[in-house]
């Protein structure tokens, strides 16, 4: 019996996944606190609670995300790029390009057939094109960020935003609310503006099919659709797991590799 765990301490959320005999048997997600070490401990506690697994049964654990170096109970820290690539290709083996939109960054990762990293590009300098952009807009609209996708699908006359900058777009949203534009049309405009910025980053490296999206924003159908249109391709959706957990899943897969190596070296 091999039980391993993966932890992804992100800027906004902290995720954890437990794999048992190469199957996901438990997952947990919490909002990140100011201290990554505490967020990691909290998510671990939640995960153990929910699965009834004891921490001592976890033979290997790998951490990722911006707070990975601070996690005390992991055997190894692995970069987010590697973990997202690993996790996405495990669920969609044909994936060659992975677009991960996190709470405060965006990464585009190119992998070869064997899962080896070919190239990647990342934006963590500008809030536009990251989850933060959607958070800011949802707040102005007084809706939950999870509603942006659902609402935008019902839009009949999507609004075009002149600017990609989060600050300017926020002012535009307020203007459109005041001029009584429909919530659905404003949401559609927000999602397209978001997709535009991500497409700009994506087009900076040569993309290859299949393309899949990870991270919380992958749950926003409006962004996924708009991005697919802009890139001229269909984006494959991860259905077997929450796209927001992919980093943690990738980390757990690395932990599993470590566990297998340990077993084989002991056997030898």
């Amino acid at each position: 019996m091999s039980i391993v765990a993966g932890f992804d301490v992100g800027s906004l959320t902290t995720k954890a996944v437990i794999l048992k005999n190469k199957k996901i048997v438990g997952a947990a997600m919490i909002r990140s606190g100011p201290k990554p070490v505490e967020s990691a401990a909290k998510v671990m506690e939640k995960l153990l609670d929910e699965t009834g697994i004891h921490q001592a049964d976890i033979i290997k654990a790998v951490g990722t995300g911006y707070g990975r170096e601070k996690i005390t109970f992991i055997d190894k820290a692995v970069s987010e790029i590697s973990c997202h690539g690993k996790g996405a290709q495990w669920l969609i083996p044909s994936a060659r390009t992975i677009i991960d939109i996190g709470g405060q960054d965006c990464k585009v990762i190119r992998l070869d057939k064997q899962g080896k990293l070919v190239k990647f590009i990342t934006n963590d300098k500008c809030a536009s094109g990251t989850g933060r952009f959607l958070d800011v807009m949802a707040k102005v609209m007084n809706i939950d960020v999870s509603e942006l996708g659902k609402l935008s699908v019902k839009s009949t006359e999507p609004i075009t935003f002149a600017s990609m900058c989060t600050v300017w777009a926020q002012a535009d949203v307020i203007k459109h609310i005041n001029s009584r534009k429909s919530v659905e049309d404003i949401c559609a405009g927000i999602n397209t503006a978001m997709a535009n910025r991500v497409a700009m980053l994506t087009n900076a490296i040569k993309i290859e099919n299949d393309i899949c999206m990870t991270g919380g924003v992958a749950k926003n159908a409006g962004v996924v659709k708009a991005l697919g249109k802009l890139l001229g391709c269909r984006i494959k959706q991860i259905k077997k797991a929450d796209p927001q957990l992919i980093g943690a899943i990738g980390a757990a897969l690395f932990a599993q590799e470590m566990a297998l190596k340990k077993v084989s070296s002991e056997a030898a």
């Binding site: 405060q104 300098k125 800011v136 989060t166 600050v167 300017w168």
Partner: protein, 257 residues
């Protein structure tokens, strides 16, 4: 001939009355939602100050992002040309103008006759514009016009590492939570804005004299940080509100029609 310049910006509207190569009156008002209304109001108020009727004004030149809505303008001119003209008229040795407005920033190179040679313009990203300071003033709960002075007395060198306004705001909130001194945070913010616009200016290759204009030039912290960033002392307009420089340029251009 009496002339007028009217600069309808995104945040403020400015007007200048000009006669015999002198500024007679000038005014700065907060912009209204409708640029046409801003134009009407700012012109009405400056005329009242000068005790003049509009039919006494020979020519009026309009500029700024809302220039198309100025119904009484005889001519429209770009902000770049107006800022160049205004600064060159005030300080003839000017070869470069750095203007930070409410929602944009520009660096303009001019020749000895005040003619524009090259310029860069940013209105795509809020970082590097007056909006950066407005958002930070809100986060710190200080008045925009007090920021410059308040940032002067600093003790600890802090660094704002993010250029993006949204991310920098988060950094400021963290610094507040860490009980950092407001003056120290302000100092870091002024440096951040000053160095961001300095690198925009440096892309044109710096030539002296460099003059800073626009509302943000009133912030001594940003003013000094800009000097540091471009590596040469920046000049300020003498006895002229840097915020009216565009309207002044427009009024001068009107006198040349």
């Amino acid at each position: 001939m009496i002339t007028a310049g009217c600069d309808i910006g995104s945040r403020t509207a400015k007007a200048v009355i000009f006669e015999n190569n002198k500024i007679i009156e000038s005014i700065v008002i907060p912009a209204k939602l409708d640029p046409a209304e801003s134009a009407e109001t700012v012109m009405k108020l400056v005329l009242e100050q000068a005790d003049l009727r509009i039919d006494k004004i020979g020519k009026i030149v309009g500029t700024g992002y809302g220039q198309q809505e100025i119904s009484f303008a005889h001519k429209l001119e770009s902000e770049i040309v107006c800022h160049a003209k205004g600064a060159w008229w005030s300080i003839p040795s000017t070869r470069m103008i750095v203007d930070i407005g409410g929602q944009d920033s520009k660096a303009i190179k001019i020749d000895k006759n005040g003619k524009v040679i090259r310029y860069t313009y940013n209105d795509k990203c809020a970082s590097g514009t007056g909006r950066f300071l407005e958002i930070m003033a809100d986060a710190l709960q200080v008045a925009l016009e007090d920021m410059g002075e308040m940032g002067k007395t600093f003790n600890e060198k802090l660094i704002i590492s993010n250029q993006c306004v949204i991310f920098a705001e988060t950094e400021v909130v963290s610094l507040i939570n860490e009980n950092k001194d407001v003056a120290d945070i302000l100092n870091a913010l002024h440096h951040s804005l000053g160095s961001r616009v300095a690198s925009q200016a440096r892309s044109l290759i710096i030539e002296q004299d460099v003059v800073m204009t626009g509302g943000v030039a009133k912030n001594i912290g940003v003013f000094e940080a800009l000097s540091t960033g471009i590596g040469t002392p920046v000049k300020a307009l003498e006895n002229i509100d840097p915020q009216i420089n565009g309207a002044l340029g427009a009024a001068i251009i009107a006198s040349e029609i």
